[in-house]
């Protein structure tokens, strides 16, 4: 019997109908000098327009102006590609335009990644990541891998369409604390589950903590397939990965206690955000 796949993560169309120009008016880079703000807007628009050569041309001027690589990734690059996603969702952009914007992200990340990795502080653990078998997407996974490296992890990236056997071989070889499965399609997310089943069959489930992520992935899916943690975005994934190798390093992969602890990380973040909002409004 084939698996029925539930995906609950569906954007509300209302959320997407915001006006991008309005968001430019509200200054998102409040504390940046005006020439940097202009540069940011240009990087953002080059990504939206899919001009990858222009995008990479602007990365060095931004770095020369003392903008950190991480700020570039989390700032104009993230907002630019988010606008591309919005346009795709709204039938304003189609696959050719999205592919061109993806190229921009790749070319900019090509310059920024070594710099972010070089920022790496102390060694805190090893993570094996890969996009599951049948799935060719890797921008999101690359961003997570890069952020993990910057946070002090050694990251072994197995690339795209990685069969379960390759994950298992890599876990044997590199002895990571964490393994991350990425999937960007509802048709391939099932392979996350299959890969976990392979781990169990090999008796290795307790050896590693399993992270899952990707556009169709949700906490509910993570719970259902028995993964330890779900990273809603790269920053959350890094936060949880750190917790896994520090506070919870003695709990084994697959242990319900670990799962609960990971949910608690989310709950704490939500509470902190709520407190911040309240402080700002009050």
């Amino acid at each position: 019997m084939a698996l029925f796949i539930e995906t609950e993560k569906e954007w509300d169309i209302e959320d997407l109908q915001y006006d991008f120009e309005d968001s430019l008016e509200t200054d998102r880079w409040l504390d940046a000098p005006s020439e940097i703000k202009e540069l940011f807007h240009e990087i953002e628009w080059n990504i939206i327009d899919g001009e990858h050569e222009d995008t990479s041309d602007l990365i060095h001027p931004a770095l020369d102006a003392d903008v950190s690589p991480r700020t570039l990734v989390a700032g104009p690059m993230a907002t630019g590609i988010a606008e591309v996603g919005r346009r795709f969702k709204m039938d304003e952009y189609f696959l050719p335009e999205v592919m061109m914007s993806a190229k921009c992200m790749h070319s900019a990340l090509g310059i920024l990644k070594p710099l972010i990795v070089a920022e790496k502080s102390e060694e805190i653990g090893t993570v094996v990541v890969g996009t599951v078998q049948g799935d060719l997407h890797d921008i999101g996974k690359k961003i997570v891998a890069m952020m993990l490296e910057a946070a002090g992890f050694t990251v072994v990236d197995l690339g795209v369409t990685v069969p379960p056997e390759d994950f298992i071989a890599a876990i044997r070889e590199h002895q990571p604390q964490i393994v991350g499965f990425s999937a960007l399609l509802t048709t391939t997310m099932n392979m996350q589950w299959e890969t976990i089943k392979h781990l169990q069959k090999e008796g290795m489930r307790g050896d590693v903590k399993v992270f899952v992520g990707g556009a169709p992935i949700s906490q509910a899916w993570c719970d259902k397939i028995g993964a330890d943690a779900y990273g809603v975005d790269a920053l959350v994934a890094v936060e949880k990965a750190k917790a896994c190798v520090q506070e919870y390093k003695d709990i084994k992969g697959g242990d319900p206690a670990l799962h609960g602890a990971m949910l608690a990380v989310d709950a704490q973040r939500v509470a902190e955000q709520a407190a911040k909002l309240e402080a700002a409004s009050g």
């Binding site: 240009e42 628009w45 304003e92 696959l95 050719p96 335009e97 049948g134 060719l136």
Partner: protein
């Protein structure tokens, strides 16, 4: 099998011809298509013998799909109205043609893969990927990937020297689902000795679809923006080949084929089209107009009643469908029902029902494999009510029947179509039918924000 009086049209075939010509027949015509595993299960399920080795089956379309032409005994037992036939592969055996990587007559630009592979006549490399029962071929190597990545002149030279499949190879027409019969003999047999109408497929890859396979899914879409000249030349050549393959089968058996199906051309996801309308109109449609019109003209000389059918999965918005009609297309399959509502079956019928016929429509993503018999019956009633009025609807699964479709669901589909699909159809909608209430047309191509002038591109700033 009842002996058919020559020249008198049997009810099965008449039903199909009526539907194709947008007239109301006596019953909604029915046909089936499936993967080899789905077909084996179905035969097993209704107590018929079957060949255990998939390689003993003649495939229904291209070498790499595990798609099968249903044999006449099962068609008769299930009481369907038409069967399908497709041209064979050039220079190869029926069905699968397995060659080794080092036999590929040109440079693929990649190292030899380490897994079980299949290479088709286009040089596309596929890896055998098993599932619970059987498996399928997953693409892993694209023969023109290196050409589209090369400078234009080099790319065009590779296109020029590429060993394209030869549509006029006699082996394409050598075999049929009945061992020992040529394709022409088989088609003649269907017409003269059986009551079934015949759907024929000549193409062996397609135009836009084959282009995706030649350079890979990731590359093809950026080519629309980055390498339009290369893409244009590749699509031109693929159109020539599509025309040739279709002419080859038309020349051989066109008079026995009741309608033709062009090679599948997937143009859309379940949400919307892959390309913007502008790109489609400028970069794809002209090839369709040239190719389909030439094929149709050739076909009508052999069979003046002939019609041509276009396949795409997904939700193709109405303006794209208009472009297909302009290129001579008379009908559309496979009508997946669970796509965006702007392009679901009921919407298609409302938008285009007076201009084209529709084929397919019963969901293979959920209802047929996982639904109950009652779910299947409900869906059949809904689809017939939505699509059947005025004729122009041939009922089938919305894609191949796969190994996970229970036999009782297929039988329920046929049974319900026979009892509910009797003309004149009921005027009141069955529960759950899409009556068009609250429908909103496709909203794409809205005017989008232009880049603010203050953020000029690097090139513009340099100038």
């Amino acid at each position: 099998m009842a002996q058919i009086i020559k020249n008198a049209m049997p009810p099965e075939r008449k039903r199909v011809i009526d539907a194709l010509h947008l007239r109301e027949p006596d019953l909604v015509p029915i046909g089936l298509w499936g993967t080899i595993e789905g077909y084996q299960n179905l035969r097993k399920g209704i107590g018929m013998d079957f060949k255990a080795d998939p390689k003993d089956y003649r495939t229904g379309s291209t070498t790499w799909t595990t798609d099968v032409s249903f044999e006449l005994d099962i068609a008769e037992k299930l009481g369907v109205d038409f069967v399908r036939i497709a041209i064979g592969s050039p220079g190869g055996s029926p069905g699968f043609r397995e060659i080794q990587f080092d036999e590929i007559p040109f440079d693929m630009g990649i190292p030899p893969p380490s897994v079980d592979i299949n290479v088709d006549e286009w040089g596309v490399i596929r890896k055998w990927t098993p599932h619970e029962q059987g498996g399928y071929y997953e693409m892993i190597g694209y023969p023109l990937f290196h050409a589209t990545s090369a400078p234009l002149e080099e790319g065009l030279r590779i296109l020029d020297e590429f060993p394209w499949p030869n549509a006029w190879d006699e082996s394409c027409l050598e075999d049929s689902p009945i061992p020992g019969m040529t394709l022409r003999e088989y088609c003649k047999f269907i017409r003269e000795e059986t009551p079934f109408a015949l759907l024929g497929q000549g193409g062996r890859g397609g135009i836009f679809e084959q282009a995706k396979y030649m350079v890979g899914y990731a590359k093809i879409f950026s080519d629309f923006i980055e390498s339009p000249e290369f893409l244009e030349e590749m699509l031109r050549r693929l159109t020539d080949i599509e025309i040739d393959f279709n002419k080859a089968i038309i020349d051989e058996c066109g008079e026995y084929i009741d309608w033709m199906r062009m090679s599948p051309e997937d143009l859309a996801s379940e949400k919307t089209a892959f390309l913007s309308l502008k790109m489609f109109d400028r970069q794809v449609k002209p090839h369709y107009v040239r190719g389909f019109r030439e094929i149709k003209e050739h076909y009508l000389k052999k069979n003046p009643l002939g019609k041509i059918q276009f396949h795409s999965c997904g939700a193709i918005p109405e303006p794209f469908m208009r472009g297909l009609i302009e290129s001579g297309v008379d009908g559309y399959d496979s009508l997946p029902p669970k796509v965006a509502r702007h392009s679901n079956p009921a919407a298609k019928k409302r938008q285009l029902g007076k201009e084209m016929f529709f084929y397919g429509g019963i969901d293979v993503q959920e209802t047929l494999p996982w639904g109950s018999v009652e779910d299947v019956r409900n869906e059949v009633r809904q689809r017939i009510w939505e699509m059947g009025h005025g004729g122009g609807f041939l009922l089938s699964s919305s894609h191949r029947l796969e190994h996970d479709v229970p036999t009782q669901n297929v039988l329920a589909m046929i049974d319900e179509a026979r009892s509910y699909g009797r003309y004149p159809l009921p005027t009141d909608p069955p529960p759950g039918a899409d009556t068009g209430e609250g429908y909103e047309p496709w909203s794409g191509e809205r005017k989008r924000r232009r880049r603010p002038s203050r953020t000029r591109s690097t090139a513009a700033r340099a100038a």
